[in-house]
Symmetry: C2
Subunit: 354 residues, 2 copies
């Protein structure tokens, strides 16, 4: 078993804390360690450091080795720019030379998992389920009809128990009604966390069938001595879910292993607020990181890393993020729209703030 950690996420919805120079995976959002470090620690009991590989923006490789000195001298893959997860996974499948039947675990580096032992158990189950050449994905027990996640839908005529359930289809982020219907699927439905387990040869064969342009483009480029920049520029910007898992699931090649492990993608300030409120047993939902004083607020997150005192009075359902050069104050129900601010700054070429 070996791991490929995808540390390329931008985390723009956690701006202004998450920046181009230090994006979400490399931030200590839930304590002392960054999400990337937590991801490494989570799998450390399963494999030695030499079996852990990281795909990240090449500008972030110094952060990778700074936060994980045990990876110095290991195979780290620096991307010239992000080209979504299909390119990253295919590249890792090709350049990390392992025996054909070795099992590759693909892990995003920007998620939170509360139950680490449960998570490792799920990975071991998934590894067994992958022995027959299936593409295996962990299925997160849904907490409700959320519209922000992709869904994995199981087949109703299959009960493989410990070896995973056959997947009928993947569904991109549905609307509320669609999500509610999915939860009632007879074969079960799970959130797609982007955690995949497969034999290397099975992955390469499936990529060959379902995403030949991506696999072939990288392979030919590498054979011809092209730079990764040149190779990446020719690749489509597409997720591994869409490029591989969706078509493969329709061919019966995919299994899901349920994992009720306290997962969160920390996908917004709201999600982070929820996790921190749980961990800190927050009074009235008031969560403060850093120097903060509050009077009579409820359900607020104050994140102060700018070295200043943040004072809140009488607020409700509000996010306050203080950084050295930007202060964000955001209504909790608008936390998704932080991305729109980042887009606006990008268009205005306000790169200092990005």
């Amino acid at each position: 078993m070996y791991a490929v950690i995808l540390a390329g996420g931008g985390g723009t919805r956690l701006w202004p804390l998450s920046r181009r120079a230090r994006p979400k995976p490399f931030l200590p959002l839930l304590g002392e360690q960054s999400l990337f470090q937590l991801t490494l620690a989570r799998i450390a009991p399963l494999m030695p450091p030499e079996d852990v590989h990281v795909v990240a923006d090449q500008r972030h490789l110094p952060l990778v080795t700074q936060q994980a000195p045990q990876l110095i001298g290991r195979k780290l893959i620096g991307e010239p720019f992000g080209r979504n997860t299909a390119a990253a996974v295919a590249l890792a499948a090709l350049v990390i030379e392992r025996p054909a039947t070795d099992v590759m675990v693909v892990l995003p580096a920007d998620h939170w998992i509360a139950d680490e032992a449960g998570f490792r158990n799920a990975l071991m189950v998934a590894a067994r389920a992958a022995e027959d050449g299936s593409l295996v994905t962990l299925g997160i027990a849904p907490q409700g009809p959320e519209t922000g996640y992709g869904y994995i839908v199981g087949t109703s005529d299959d009960d493989a128990g410990n070896s995973g359930r056959r997947v009928a289809r993947f569904v991109e982020k549905p609307d509320r009604e669609g999500a509610t219907e999915l939860l009632a699927s007879p074969g079960g439905a799970w959130w797609n966390a982007g955690i995949f387990v497969w034999r290397r040869d099975a992955l390469l064969a499936s990529l060959e069938r379902h995403a030949p342009a991506i696999l072939g483009g990288i392979r030919r480029g590498l054979d011809n001595g092209q730079s990764l920049t040149t190779i990446y520029e020719s690749l489509p910007d597409i997720s591994i879910d869409r490029a591989l898992m969706e078509p493969a699931s329709l061919q019966g090649e995919v299994k899901v292993v349920p994992a009720d492990v306290g997962w969160s993608d920390l996908g917004s300030w709201n999600a982070l607020h929820g996790e921190l409120a749980k961990r800190q047993a927050a009074q009235a939902g008031v969560v403060a990181i850093g120097a903060a004083q509050d009077l009579d607020s409820r359900d607020i997150l104050v994140h102060s890393s700018g070295g200043r005192l943040v004072v809140t009075v009488g607020l409700a359902d509000t996010i306050v993020v203080d950084t050295p050069d930007v202060v964000l104050v955001c209504a909790a129900d608008r936390a998704q729209d932080v991305r729109a601010i980042v887009d606006r700054l990008t268009q205005a070429k306000e790169t200092d703030y990005l």
Copy 2:
């Protein structure tokens, strides 16, 4: 006519912008000039700089001459610490040597007045009204039954026209019901802005009658060569309204000259928000001072003087104040409670933030 400008106000409700080292009068809250500078400019057409005197905390005298170089070498009165307005006015009455019948105008340095010409006209009317030895106060046309102001109540059997209306009594900050009743007074009711006009001899005589301990304490101390610190320590902490105007009004010694001049005491972030929204013709009540970006907020004030970008998303009725070392985010209807935060920091001896 000569002016005594009281620049001792702490302005704690405008914390964290207003600080001990640079309190409210010395802040450019409404444009380029500080409220103190605006106060000077407002009366400049009425008198030359040599007739303008300032009472301020002695630590702020450098700010006074920095902001008003024309006052260098003039009579500036530095208080060792604040002892409220009765002490400041009595001290000024004694140490600024002027002929007995000269008219003294007392002006707070931390208010805003939109109609400067109207204000000067009201002062001239008040000066005439003071010629008979009355203590004269400007009466601000009430905008509603506000509970945050003192009220001046006129006598119903007097119509002095241009020479001012006789005052029946002063009322300290009433409750809502009391304020509503006051507004229906047959003799009229006005907000007390702490702007007074009187002959020097009339003031000294009235102080002798109604506040002999204060006047006598200062006079004896000065005669005996005591330090102002020693003198001030012996004085009661009481306003000129309470020490002089209330008892004098009961003796028929006080007149009010109505002044509908666009006055605001800028007494809280909310009040400042209101003034700025009027001046800037703000869209959806969104007022921004300094570097700020907003998405879909309404009725917010963003005051950025910390050199950072302040980003607001989806807020309503909120005050955001960014300074170099403190960020305040406050529900608009809790703006009065900023004072409670200052009290808490004072008790915790967090003097860096005060």
